[in-house]
Amino acid sequence: MSTTQISEEESQTIVSSPKSIILRISRSNPQTGTAKSFMEFKVPYEKWTTVLDAILEVKKHFDHSVGVRYSCRQATCGSCGMIINGKPRLACFTKIVELNSDVVTVEPMNNFPVIRDLAVNFDRMFSTHKKLKPYIVRDDSEITSKTKEFLQTPEEVEKYIQFSSCIKCGLCNSACPTMATDSSFIGPQALAQAYRYIADSRDKGKNERLKIIDEPHGIWRCHFAGSCSMVCPKGVDPAMGIQLLRGYLLGFRR
C-alpha cells in the first residue's frame, strides 16, 4: 500500500521537523462487514508528539474518517487505549520517541468488540465493573452515624488508594491471557476494583463481592501472568490486587 504524506503547505504545525514515522492505522468496520486492513501515513513528529497527536494529524490532513475515541489527552479519561506496536497502551500517554521505531502500528484493543477502526466497545467491562458493587456497602451512612464521618487512618487508606487510581481504560483486560480466550472471565479491571472496596475499612460488602467472584469464570481464572500490571498506565497493579483478594478466599486474610 502506498504511503500518504503531508504536503508542506498543508501542514500547519510540525513541518519544521526533519523526523517522521510511518503510522500504520488499522481500519475495520464490523457494522458494514469491512475486514481489517492497514492504511499507512507518513507523519512528522517532535520529541513531545504522542501517538494520539499523530493520529489526530492524520485525521486533520489525510483522512478524517479514522475512528478513534479520545477526550482528556492526559491519561485521565481512559478513552484512547489501543494496541501500539503490539502492546496495549494509552495513545495520549505514549510518545513516539519512546517507541524507538520508524514504523508505529496502531490497532484496536484485543478482547473488546470493535466499533470501528480504533474504537472499541466497553459495555461488558462496565457491566462487570458494576456487578462487583464499586461503591461502599454498609447500612448506615456518614450523615446518620454518630461520628458524622467514617474516619480512616493513613495506614488504612494506603491499603486501597493505589487501586482507586483505575481510569477504566481497559488496557489490563486487553493484555490478560485469560481474556484472550475466555469471554466470561470477570477480568483484571473488575477484580482489582473488588479488592479496592473490600480493602476499604469503611466497606461492609466483602462477603457479597467474594460470592460474586468465587465462580468458575471468576477470580480463579487468573494465573498471575502479571501482564495486566505491566500495561497499567496508572500504577494500579491489578495483579497484586487480585492475589491479595484471593488471599481472602484462601483464608490468608480476614
Binding site: 457494522q31 484472550a180 469471554s183 494465573h223 502479571g226
Partner: protein
C-alpha cells in the same frame, strides 16, 4: 450493532515475548501441565503391563528403555521440576505472598507484583529443571 469479539485467541497464550518472563512462565506452566498429564496416563498404561507377566513387562521395557525413551523421560523430569517449582511460587503468590504491599504509586508506576523475587523464582525453576534433566540423563545413560 453486530459485535466483533476481537479476542486474541490461543495466540494470546502462545506469544510470551511482549510481556516478559512472567508471561513465558504462564505459558510454560500450562504446557508442562498438559505434558505431565499425557505422561501420567501413558505411565499408568505402561505399568499395567506388569499384570500380563514377565514377558509382557520386558517387552514394554524394550520399548521404553531406549535412547529416545530416556530423552522423553528426561524431558518429563524437566517438566515435572519446572511445574513443581513454579507451582509453589504461584501458590504463594495466590495467597498474597511475595506480591508486594499496596501503597501510593509513583511515576513511572513500576508494578510491585512484578518484582525481582518472582523473576528470580522463575529463572530458578527453569535452572532447576535443566539441572534435574541433566542428572536424570546421567542416571539413565551413565550405567
Amino acid at each position: 450493532m453486530e459485535k466483533q469479539e476481537n479476542k486474541e485467541g490461543i495466540k494470546g497464550w502462545l506469544n510470551p515475548g511482549r510481556y516478559g518472563i512472567e508471561r513465558f512462565a504462564y505459558w510454560l506452566m500450562r504446557l508442562t501441565g498438559i505434558g505431565l498429564l499425557v505422561y501420567f496416563i501413558a505411565h499408568i498404561y505402561e505399568t499395567s503391563t506388569i499384570l500380563n507377566g514377565k514377558a509382557a513387562w520386558e517387552k514394554m521395557l524394550d520399548l521404553t528403555q531406549t535412547t529416545e525413551g530416556h530423552i522423553i523421560l528426561a524431558i518429563v523430569i524437566g517438566m515435572c521440576v519446572f511445574h513443581t517449582a513454579n507451582g509453589i511460587r504461584l501458590m504463594l503468590g495466590h495467597g498474597g505472598i511475595g506480591v508486594g504491599k499496596p501503597g501510593r504509586p509513583d511515576y513511572p508506576y513500576t508494578p510491585r507484583s512484578i518484582n525481582m523475587k518472582n523473576k528470580l523464582c522463575i529463572y530458578a525453576s527453569i535452572g532447576l529443571a535443566a539441572l534435574a534433566m541433566m542428572y536424570g540423563l546421567g542416571v539413565m545413560f551413565g550405567e
